[in-house]
């Protein structure tokens, strides 16, 4: 267990770092995909097994695949180096990052676990689909429906945008 925790933590940090550090966009995307897979295993060990599989299927399987698809399609693997079209962006990004880190540090310091790990594990019931389904469709059904409606609207809008219109296209 301790071995897994250490290994997963190290891998998460490493892949997270690599996904920012690597210059080649395909390599970075791949590091991020690896990060998602490790994250999925962490969820599973934390008794949220359904969430773990969904993390791997949706994030590593679908979303990262689309990322890589776009990168490959646009030949955008190599970032342009040496030319900075937005020179004011660097200090601004640094400032935002600093604020973000401070906020994270504050959140970490102020956070109190709502339940001890043992108590929450009992509530999760292994985090299987059988335990999650009733919860999702009874207690949280309106949020679920709202999210579904939002995604549907987004899909319809995306399809409408790429439809060959009357003018041009």
């Amino acid at each position: 267990m301790i071995v897994f925790n250490l290994l997963a933590g190290a891998l998460l940090l490493l892949t997270g770092f690599l996904s920012v550090y690597l210059r080649n966009a395909v390599h970075a995307a791949l590091a991020l995909a690896a990060n998602f897979v490790v994250m999925g295993t962490v969820y599973m060990v934390l008794q949220a097994r359904f969430l773990g599989w969904v993390q791997i299927i949706v994030y590593a399987g679908a979303i990262m695949v689309l990322f890589v698809f776009v990168i490959m399609l646009l030949h955008a693997a190599q970032a342009e180096v040496g030319f900075d079209p937005l020179p004011w962006m660097r200090p601004a990004a640094l400032a935002v990052a600093a604020v973000g880190f401070l906020a994270l540090a504050w959140a970490l310091g102020a956070a109190r676990a709502p339940l001890a790990a043992k108590a929450s594990a009992a509530l999760l019931k292994g985090g299987t689909a059988l335990a999650l389904g009733p919860e999702l469709w009874n207690t949280w059904r309106y949020p679920v429906l709202l999210v579904a409606a939002l995604l549907l609207v987004a899909t319809v809008a995306a399809v409408a945008l790429i439809r060959p219109g009357k003018e041009g296209a």
Binding site: L30, I57, G61, M72
Partner: protein, 325 residues
């Protein structure tokens, strides 16, 4: 705990050896079978009826020169066959070949595992396409991603009614449900049709083998690969065929359970049902044309997905009304 780990490791080893052996002889079945369909003889010189041909092929592949393209991305060029091979081998782990214990990992969400692994396996294909630094492989890789997004959805939608009726994501439970209530191919024939067509794309077999369409793309994503790296892709590809057929047999044809009240013999019944689908795919392979990939994507989004969704809603209504469960 340690003992359990040991047992699982031994099971996994047996499974891997069995899969690799099956792979070796599926190449023979494939070549002889395709030859029969095309009124040829096929490989028949090495050993009786060409039975030693796979060994000859293996020796030849090992001693071939292993080229690396100058413009290749070194790391990913090496990694891609490894990814494809590993995930192709791993997918079979949750498919039960007999009653309790006759499965490497009896996961409570085995269906999700198969999905996750088969999606990750596609990384091998398109990374190979990209890392080769050559245009035909790149096009093959792009096609495979575009297709993946289309057929994975249809595949998922076609599994959902089965899961809904069986009330479980565990493959052992799905087999048990079929033993008491009858095979899903009877209950869920529309879902079976969608699933079978979509899994032809998943296995990248005719009519959906456009990722390596030899007339247009030389050999698609593995054009620039030779020797054992090529063999890794070849193994991965045929393993998708092997595992996909076993999965259809498990989901829709009762899996390892014996039909008509015949004696339960582990492995045997799954093997026979699996052989039906292996042959069916080979038959389609030998007698059909390859679709254009944009047509396949339109078909996946415009026909398979809506059909599967409608059928899913019908099943959901039926189950909600208290049928079957």
């Amino acid at each position: 705990m340690l003992w359990q780990l040991f047992v699982t490791a031994v099971k996994a080893l047996v499974l891997i050896l069995a899969l690799l052996f099956t792979f070796a002889y599926i190449t023979w079945i494939m070549r002889r079978g395709l030859a029969r369909f095309q009124v040829r003889l096929g490989p028949n010189r090495v050993g009786p009826a060409g039975l030693l041909q796979p060994i000859a092929d293996a020796v030849k592949a090992i001693f071939k020169e292993d080229l690396t393209v100058a413009r290749a991305d070194r790391v990913l060029y090496w990694l891609a066959p490894l990814i494809a091979f590993t995930f192709a081998l791993a997918a079979f782990a949750v498919i039960p070949v007999g009653p309790d214990g006759w499965v490497v990992a009896n996961l409570d969400m085995g269906v999700l595992y198969v999905f996750a692994v088969s999606e990750l396996a596609v990384y091998g294909i398109f990374l190979a396409g990209w890392a080769s630094g050559s245009k035909y492989p790149l096009m093959g890789g792009l096609r495979s991603i575009a297709a993946l997004v289309g057929y994975e959805l249809a595949l998922g939608m076609a599994i959902l009614p089965v899961v809904l009726m069986a009330g479980s994501l565990n493959l052992q439970d799905i087999v048990a449900w079929q033993q008491t209530h009858g095979y899903f191919i009877l209950w869920q024939f529309p879902a079976f049709l969608v699933y079978f067509v979509a899994s032809l794309a998943e296995m990248s077999r005719t009519p959906f083998d456009f990722a390596e369409a030899e007339q247009e793309l030389v050999a698609g994503f593995h054009t620039e690969y030779a020797s054992m790296k090529f063999v890794s892709f070849y193994i991965a590809e045929l393993l998708h065929w092997i595992t996909g057929s076993a999965l259809i047999a498990t989901l829709f044809l009762g899996g390892w359970a014996a039909p008509f009240g015949l004696p339960q013999i582990p492995v045997l019944w799954l093997f026979l049902k699996w052989a039906i689908f292996i042959f069916l795919v080979l038959w389609i392979w030998a007698s059909w044309f390859r679709t254009r990939y944009d047509q396949m994507i339109r078909f996946a989004w415009g026909v398979l997905l809506p059909a599967a969704t409608v059928w899913f809603l019908i099943t959901a209504y039926y189950v909600a009304k208290g049928g079957a469960l």
